[in-house]
Every structure is written in C-alpha cells, then in structure tokens.
Symmetry: C2
Subunit: 684 residues, 2 copies
C-alpha cells in the first residue's frame, strides 16, 4: 500500500465517524420529546447547560489565546497554531456532546414512557455515541489534516512535522483540564449542595422539583460527565496518537531504526480500525442494558484486535509482531482496569456490600471500610499497567510503550459512548421525577441509570489508565526529541541524566509526586466551597419564597445555576495554571532532568490517587444504592444515613478531583514536553 | 585524634545515655504513686500492657528467629547474628519504654494532684526521656559494639564489617514494623470501639470507668504510642547511621574517594553529639509546657549544629564543610517538617479551625475539608525533603544524602522524649478521671495532654520525614555495595541500569508505588475489624452485667483487653510479611533493577500517604478538640457530633496506618538491600 492510500483510509474512518454522528443525531431528533412538562424541564436544563458552557468556554478561549501566542513566540509559530486548533477541536467535541445530551435526555424519558426500556436504552446509547464519535472522528481528522497541512506527506520531514503537531495535543490537554475541572467542580458542588438541604434537611426525594438546586444538579451531569469527560478522553486519544507518531518518526530517521515509514502512521491506522470496530459494536446494543454494555467493550476489543492483526500483517509484513503485541497489551490492560473497577465498585460484588454492612456501625466505620477497599483497588490496575508496559517495551521498545496507549484508546468509540450514556439516563430519571411521570417510567430510567453507574466506573478506570499510559508516552518522547539529544551531547551521557541517582531527577521525582496531592486539595476545597454557597442560597429560597414546599410557588432555579456557575468558573483557573506553571518553574529552576523526574513523580502519584478517588467514590455511592434498594434497613434507616454521608464524601473524589487528575498528569507532562527545547536552550 | 579515642568518645555517649536512663528511672520511681484508686487503675493498665507486650514480642521473637536463620544460611552467618541482635536491641528499647511509661502515668496524675502542673510536666517528660535515651543509647552502643566485635577496628575491613552490621538495622526494622503495626492496630481498635459505644451510644464521657473498654483504651496508648513509636525511631536512627557508615567505608576504599577514615565513624560521632545535646536540652524543660516542648527541638538542633561544627572542623580539617552542610540540611528539614505539621494540625492555626467550621455543615463537609487540607499539608514537607536532598547531594555526594538523615535523627533524644511524653499524660488524664480525682487535676492533665497532642504531630512529621531520608539512604547504598558493582560489570553500564527509561526499573517504580496503598488498606481494615469486635463485646457486657451504668457492678476490663490483643496479634503478621516478601518476589521475578525501582516507588507514595494520614488524622482530632473547648456550639452540639465522626475516621490514619508506613518503606528498602547480593547472584 502506498502512503496516499494509507492517508485516504485513515481520513475515511474519520469521515465515516462524522457521518455516523450525523445519522445518530438525525435518529435522535426524530424521536418525540413528549409532554409539555418534559419539554419545559428539559428546556431549563438546556438553558443552564448552555449558559455554563458559554461562560466556561469564553474563559477557556481567552486562556488558550494567550498561551497560543506565548507558544508561537517562544516555541514556534506552527506549534502555536496547532495548539489553537487542538483547543478548538476539543471544544467542538464538548459542544457536540452537550448539544445532543440535552436533547436526548427528554427523548429518553419519553421513550421510557411510551415505548419501554428497549427504546429508551437505544436513544440514550445513541446520545452517548454522538459524543464518542466526536471524540474519535474529530481526533483522527484533526491530526491527519494538520499532519498533511504542515507537510507531513513528505515523510523525510516527518519528525519536524510530528514535533509541531504536539501543539495540537497540548491545546487539547489545556481545554480538557479546564473543562474537566470546571465541569467537575460544577457538578459536585451542585449535587452535594442540593442534597444537603433537600435530602438531609428537608427530607424531600432526589430530583424533587421543589428543590431550588435541582436544575443546577441536572445541568451538572451534562457539563461534568458529558463535556468534561469527552474532553478528557479526546485528550488521551490524540495525545497517545501524537506521541507514538513522534517516536515513530524519530525511529524512522534513526540509522538502524525501523525501516518502514508505516510506523509513523500506524497509530492513526489502529485508531481508524478502532472507529470501525466501535461502529460495528454499536449495532449489538440491545436486550438487557447491563449485559449489552459490559459485552460492548469486549466485542470492540476483540474486533479491533482481529482487524488490526490483518491490517498489520498486510502492511508491515514480518515486522507486524512487535507493535501488534504492544497494542494488544494496551487493549488487555484496559479491560483489566475496567473489570477491577467494576469489581470494587459494583454492588453485585462483596467489597461494596461490605461497606454497606460497615455503615451499620455508623458513618465513620463505613468511610473507613470504603477507604481501605479503595486503597486495595489500586493495586491490580497499577501492577497490570506496569506489567503491560514492561511487555510492550520488551517487544516494541519505547515505540511499543507509546503504541500500547494507542491500543488501549482505540476502543474509545465504545467506551465513551457507554460512559456518556450514564448522564443522559441520569437526566432522564430526573426529568421523569420532575415531570411527575408514572412510577414505571422512573423505574425504567433508574434501571438504565444504575447500569450507567457501573459503566461510569469502568470508564473511569479506563480514563485514568489511558491517561497514565499517555503520560508515560509523553515522558518517553521527551527523552527522544532532537533538543534532548543535543542536551545529552553537550552535558553528558543520556543514561547519567536519566539515572534515578541523578539528584536533580530524584528531587524532581519527589516534587512531582506532591503535585497531584496539592491538586486534589484545591479541587475538593473548591467543591465544598461551592456546595456551601449553594446550601446558603437554597436555604434562603426556602425561607423567603413562600409556598415552595407546598408546591404553590416555583423556586428560582436560575439563581442556583448562576451561583454554581460562578463558583466553578472562578475555581477552575488555579488548578490549570498549576499544571502549566509548575513544570516551567521546576524546569528553569533546577533543570531538564528535574523536569523529567517531576513528570514521572506526578504520573506515579497521580495514577494512584486518581484510581483511588475514582473507585472509592463509586464504592460509597453504590453502597448507598445497595441500602436504598431495601437492604440492611433500606431508605430512612440509620444505616442509610451513614451511607449517604459516605456517598457525599466520595462525590467530589469520583467526579471532580479524581477525573481531574487524569488530565492534570497529562497536561503537566505535555507542558514539559513542549517547553523542553526552550528549557534545554536555557541550560546549554 | 586516633581511632581508639574516637571509639572511646562514641561509646561514652552511649554509656552516658544509659546512665542517664538510670538516673531518670530512679527519680521517677522515687515519686509517690498516690491514692489506692490511682494505684489500682494504673495496675490494670500495667497488667494489660504487660500481657500484650508478652504476646506480641513472643510472636515477634519467633518471626525474628526464623528470618535470622534464613539470613544466616542464604546471606551470611554474621549478618544473621547481627539481625538477631538488632531485633533484640529494638525489643529492649520497647520494653524499657513501656516499663517506665506504665509507672510514670500514675505518678504524673499524682504529681498533678499534689504538686501542680510544673511537677506533673517534669515527671511526664522524664518518663518520655527514658524511652528517648533508650533509643539513642542502645542504638549507638549496639552499633559500636557490633562494629568492633566483627573486626571493624581494623579499618581496612570496614566495608565488609559495615555490610554485615546492616543485619542489625534489618532486625530493628522487622521488630519495628510488627511492633508499630501491632501496637497501632491495638490502640486504635480499642479507641474507636470504646468511643463508639461509650461516647456515641451511651453518652458517657471519655475514660469513664463504667466503660468496659476503658482500660484497653489506656493500654493502647502505651503499646502503640510508646513501644511502637520507640521501635520506629530506633529503626530510623540505626538505619541512617548504618547506611552512612557503609557508604563511608566504600568511599574510603575507593581510589579517589575520601582520604579520611573518620568518615566511616562520622555518623556515630554526630549521633554522640546529638545525645549530649539532648541531655542538655532536658534541663531546659520548665514553665509553660507548650513553649517548653516547642522550644526543646529548636534548642537541640542549635546545640547539635554548634557542637558538630567544632567537632568536625577539629576532626576532618578542611574536609569538614561538605558533610557539615549535609547534616545541617537534615536538621533544618526536620524542623520544617515538624513546623508544617504543627501548622496544619494545631487548633491554634486556621486549617484546623476551618475544618471545625465546615463541620457545621455536617460530617461530610468536615471530612472533605480536612481531606483537602491534609492533601495540601504534604506539599511543603515533600518539596523541602527534595531540596534538602538536592543540596546534601550537591555538596556531599551520595554520602551527603545518607548523612543528612543522620543529621535529622541526631536530635531523636529530644524528639522522642517530647513524643512519648504525650501518651503518659494521656494515661494520667485517664487515671485522673477513673480515680475520680478533683476537677483541677483532670484539667492539669488535659492541659499537658493537649500539648502532647501538638508534639505528637510534630514528631509524626519528623518520623515519616526521617523514614524517607533513611529509606533513600538505603536506596543509595544498594547501588554502591560490592555485589551491585559486580552486577554492573557483568550486565552493562551502571547508568543504563539505573535509568528511569529502563523498563524494568520503571515497572518496579509503578509496582512499588502501589504497595503503600495496599498496606494502608490492610491496616485500616484490621482496625475497623477490631473496633467492630470490641463494640460487640462492650454491648454484651452492658447487656449482661447488671449495674454497670449505675456504678454498682464492675465491667470485665480484662476480656476487652484480650479481644483487642488477639485481634492485633492476628493482624500484624500480614503487613510485615508483605514488606519482606514483596521485594523478594519482584527482585527474583523481574530483576535487581526492578527491585531498585520498587524501593523508590514505595518511598515516594509511602512518604505522601504517610504524611497525609498523619496530618489529616491530627487535624480532625484537633478540630474536635477545638469544638470541645466550647467553640461553634461546644460539646453535644451537631457540630460536635460531626467533628467526632471526622476524628474517628482519622484515628487509624494517624496512629495505625500512617506511622506504619514509615517503617513499611524502610523495611521494604532494607529487605531489598540485604537480599540484593542474593538476587544479583541469581541473575548473573
């Protein structure tokens, strides 16, 4: 196959993804939105989401513009342009996801009302798929176009071009952090604040329309779990592809490196295969939602592996084995991480039940038991990531490490769809409650929602696992770029610089390890501050607006949305700035080796804390759900009260700081990667 | 100065420490124990402590014997003997500490009753000092005697001898882990279980004699905070000395290394200086306890620095500067860590008050706020450890890194005394309550106790900081031992092996990072299991023994002690085994480079989690104390109830898993160090 055919095939996959989005959107919008009440409530949510998205992305656009100019001036104009485009593409993904999410929620509720579970599942999954195929489609098309635009068609320029499109990935990272953190703070401040007054103080059920914070809470699902999560995965997806392309290009130019130019394009090819596999998988979603969604990741994995095998043996000839094994490592590790998260967080298994049982001894014992099991839960994923990386390296070298991340992420089309399906059904359940639809409708939505919860924790594991792999790929790439090679030749041997006994590297390792903790502190504190403000506002409304509790007066939903929006917008700046400024400070102050160490340190503790927070939050959440399902005394029992406290503690972990860490470690390492040449210049 | 004079001086410091213990013991035992009631209650505590110590140390002795034999057979008979002696010395320290602690508690209570605060402070601090000078005295004497016994007097054999006495440090580590973890599980299971029924269910005050668990709770202070803590610091103390001696000996024999044999003995000399400084400091303890104790660490630091300066310029001539700066780094970093912990955990400062304020919004917000601040609190210590190590290395090389740990630990005589003072006053307060002494007595004891709390968090920071430094010293030593040098010459370049891009090392780094999390999970779960069992037993006694609440019948204290003892003894084995087995598995399975990486990974996350857990636990505890002091509604308010939940969650963090991590990372790294030659043999 010649290069142009390859490019054509890759581009086709992206275009097919976009066309598929069009098809899905058409199918969703064709569905009936339902009753006046449904429309009204969905309208509130849509308004709130749009208002938040506008404010968030205006701020992000300003930040991106400033950083793009800095990059253009100090690193290179093309990198600056790529950065801007990367930011734009990421934002586009988020907007597409939200656009359809706030339109699928009502249609899912209505489908549950008129056509039952099967149809509701179908609509919700289609809604999630729109986000998923935006991620992969825009990702593949964006990288491919930029690569060609910058002259990558001439493979002798491949290294330079690849080094330029790192800007694309950097732009995506920046948007992702702000979107994920902002959305995460929004959604949990709204959730916690609304519940603290509604459920705990007033004793009214979740999603009750009398609660002034209820719309803010519903909006939160969209801006946090849809837009934020999409930006997160988009970033991992393009990051893994770009870093493997750079390594492929460097290896291609190295004497004694690989002989096939195809290695540079392999990451895009595998991603293209994954897109087709995910589309095929989409057609298998039917029947029991729990089985259908759990099956989906396995089906995608198998299809991707099989097609990749045929494509790669055909394309690379006898050289197919090494990269294929590396890709397989990524795919398998992804499945293992997902399954482990599922085991530790689903109330089908003993860990979550154990937490619920401990809640009988009061909230402290429930929290302690959850905490211990959360600590256990990181062990298997980390060990498997380590082993996967070791195997990928042993067969494929540094390139193998990078491409294994591409392998894991190639099935993003399926994973993201299954994840984004969750907030849509959650919204649908909320709408069913507020629109006072019959009990069966709410039951269907709840059933879909509880499956969504399981998928959410599987995807959370996948997100942090792939983030670690991507960040490791960035780390590896850092040591292979031309500037670094020059640094080595000026300063000493490569190995001495990279030695763990190099005191600067070790100091960096320690300092880097402290940042994910600091980041967690900042984000969790922002959530509790926001929740506190919302609590005050909701209490004020109940006090001042007469008749809310009797249902004769309407609460001021918009005011709650505004308060939470402002808090999130104000709070999202600091964490993002830390991720970008900290590597620069350490790099310029101590040196390139310290910066390398810092990246590694942040990856290590970021992975640990990210996995822990994601899992423990879901465990507490599902332990509460287990009690609510009528076990151990059920709703209203002291055990339930204890479980609710555990759930509230876990909320910001699982939806704000935990997922934020994914991007934090990627943004930190890619900042190091992009500014490394500048820092090296300063030192030689 | 010739070598024999040096040895004489060092030995003198050890003998002076032992003589000082004798003096202190005599002074304490001379004090009157007081009323019949005081004697009776103190007697119960003494009995319970002795019973636990006997069971724990019988088990530990058996484990030590087995491991000593394994070491003697596989590593070398002398190392095996050194291991046994190390274990013995550590146990001796623990027993001495407990012996005097369970005799000072009653005398402190009685001194408070008859002579007021000044005298009570004096007795309690003397009690703590006995443990402190056991640690430093037995440490210095043990190492010196072994070194001479094994022929280290002939400096040409110094490397071999130093490599042998690593066994001493290993033995001390092993005992330390079991004692710290066992004691930690004991003390918190007793504390949490007793409070859950007593304070929460029955609404009776802390230390109320009607609570069947009250004696178990008092015993816990001794076996956890006295014996466990002493073993922990003993281990850091001897570990730092031994690893610096090995590095000194290697450097001495290296062509182009240092020229002065004194470097081998310098760690012992600095420790000797620290002993004298601590004795001098002891005489400054008077007046307001808070000021006196905070002042004490500063005074010791300054005296040690000044005397060291004179000794080192005299001893090393122009070569004094580099090691002196390294030692100073350790001393200063120790003070910074302590001060940071104090800031984040004392209710004199805003963080703890902020947690108390958040408790007004319920337990979840209090826990979240504490969690965030705990995450913040690790940042400064880790950064300063990194910077300290960087400076120590820059001036003193690898030896500088190791000796900086010795510098930090040289003032252990003071720090341990200030720490062990806490549980003695805590016990005294308990005795005052149970013996129904007048309110003023309890107030004096409480005042002393609350100062003890501050010192405890300062010392906790010190313990984990010094553990990290010691573990780093072990890590550095690992790469310098003869076997490793041989490995390098067989397998490739040193730097390539140590490269962070070496996939085996990186895999080890990741895997190692997961172990402290797993360890935390195991320990916290053991505490909650123990607490649950105790809750059942206390409930049973209240139910079956009529008249407990009315004070007409006595609860069965002994049964509670037995249950908690059995739980702790059963639970302490697994964490210890993990620390020893895991390095062997990774080492033999993946290789020496993976083992190195694993040690580094465990240090990084162990330091992070250890600092976090120690600080956050104290923050919640002191937030509760802040409310109990009458703020924000005071005792009995909903804010207080929320704060109690936070305190209970923090209990096992600060006293079981957190301090356990100190030793866990040391034991893991020293296991790696001791078995490294064997593992290398297997691979070449």
């Amino acid at each position: 196959m010649d290069i142009s055919t390859l490019f054509l095939l890759i581009a086709t996959s992206g275009i097919v993804a976009i066309a598929y989005i069009g098809y899905l959107t058409w199918r969703i919008l064709k569905e009936d939105e339902g009753t006046k009440e449904i429309k009204e409530i969905s309208g509130y949510i849509r308004e709130g989401s749009n208002a938040y998205m506008k404010r968030q992305y205006s701020l992000i656009a300003a930040i991106i513009a400033v950083i793009a100019i800095i990059i253009a001036v100090f690193v290179g104009p093309l990198v600056g342009i790529a950065y801007g485009i990367g930011g734009l593409c990421s934002s586009l993904t988020g907007f597409t996801g939200i656009f359809i999410a706030v339109r699928s929620n009502s249609r899912t509720a209505n489908a549950a009302r008129t056509k039952g579970l099967g149809k509701a599942l179908d609509v919700a999954f289609k809604g999630g798929s729109v986000l998923a195929f935006s991620v992969v489609g825009i990702g593949v098309l964006g990288i491919t176009s930029l690569f060609l635009l910058f002259g990558g068609y001439d493979m002798s320029k491949a290294v330079d071009v690849a080094n330029t499109i790192i800007g694309f990935s950097f732009g995506a990272s920046t948007v992702a952090l702000f979107a994920r953190v902002g959305g995460g703070i929004y959604t949990k401040a709204a959730d916690v604040g609304t519940d603290l007054v509604g459920k705990v103080e007033k004793g009214i059920p979740e999603d009750d329309p009398r609660n002034p914070g209820v719309i803010a809470d519903n909006v939160g699902d969209n801006v946090g779990d849809v837009a934020g999560m999409g930006a997160d995965l988009f970033e991992s997806y393009v990051g893994a592809i770009v870093s493997s392309m750079i390594l492929g290009a460097i290896l291609y130019q190295l004497p004694g490196g690989i002989s096939k130019v195809e290695w540079v394009l392999l990451p895009l090819i595998v991603s293209a295969v994954g897109i087709f596999a995910s589309i095929i998988t989409g057609f298998t979603i039917r029947g029991d939602p729990a089985t259908a969604l759990t099956r989906a990741t396995i089906i995608s994995t198998v299809i991707t592996a099989v097609i990749s095998y045929f494509v790669m043996t055909n394309l690379l000839g006898s050289a197919w084995f090494e990269p294929f094994v590396s890709i397989l490592c990524g795919l398998i590790v992804g499945v293992i991480i997902g399954e482990t998260s599922d085991y530790f967080t689903s109330n089908r298994y003993s860990p979550t039940k154990r937490v619920a049982i401990a809640d009988q001894g009061g909230p402290a014992l429930g929290i302690l038991t959850g905490f211990s099991l959360g600590m256990y839960s990181v062990f298997i994923p980390i060990v498997f990531i380590a082993v996967g990386e070791l195997i990928a390296y042993s067969v494929g070298g540094l390139y193998g490490v990078a491409i294994s991340a591409v392998g894991m992420l190639s099935i993003s089309g399926t994973v993201v769809a299954a994840d984004a399906y969750g907030p849509i059904t959650d919204n649908a359940a909320g709408i069913a409650e507020q629109a006072k639809l019959p009990g069966e409708v709410r039951d269907i939505c709840d059933k879909l929602d509880s499956v969504g919860n399981t998928m959410k924790s599987v995807c959370k594991g996948f997100a942090i696992g792939s983030a670690a792999l991507t960040a490791i790929a960035f780390l590896v790439t850092m040591t292979q770029i031309p500037a670094f090679t020059q640094y080595i030749s000026e300063v000493g041997s490569l190995d001495r610089i990279l030695s763990i006994l190099n005191p600067k590297l070790f100091a960096g390792l320690l300092i880097g390890s402290a940042f994910p903790a600091f980041f967690t502190g900042v984000v969790v504190l922002a959530v509790s501050n926001g929740a506190n403000k919302l609590v005050d506002e909701i209490r004020r409304q109940f006090r001042e607006i007469k008749g809310i509790m009797e249902g004769t007066a309407k609460p001021d939903y918009a005011q709650c949305v505004t308060i939470i929006t402002t808090n999130a917008i104000k709070s999202l700046v600091l964490p993002g700035i830390i991720a970008i400024i900290a590597p620069l400070i350490i790099g310029f102050l101590i040196g390139p080796d310290a910066l390398l160490g810092m990246s590694a340190g942040a990856i290590i503790t970021g992975l640990l804390l990210g996995l822990f927070q994601g899992n423990v939050g879901n465990t507490w959440d599902n332990a509460k759900k287990y009690v609510e399902a009528g076990n151990l005394g059920g709703k209203g029992s002291p055990t339930h009260a204890a479980a609710v406290i555990g759930d509230t503690v876990g909320d910001p972990f699982k939806d704000s700081s935990g997922p934020g860490l994914n991007i934090f470690i990627k943004l930190m390492t890619i900042t190091a990667l992009v500014f490394m040449p500048l820092i090296i210049q300063y030192f030689i």
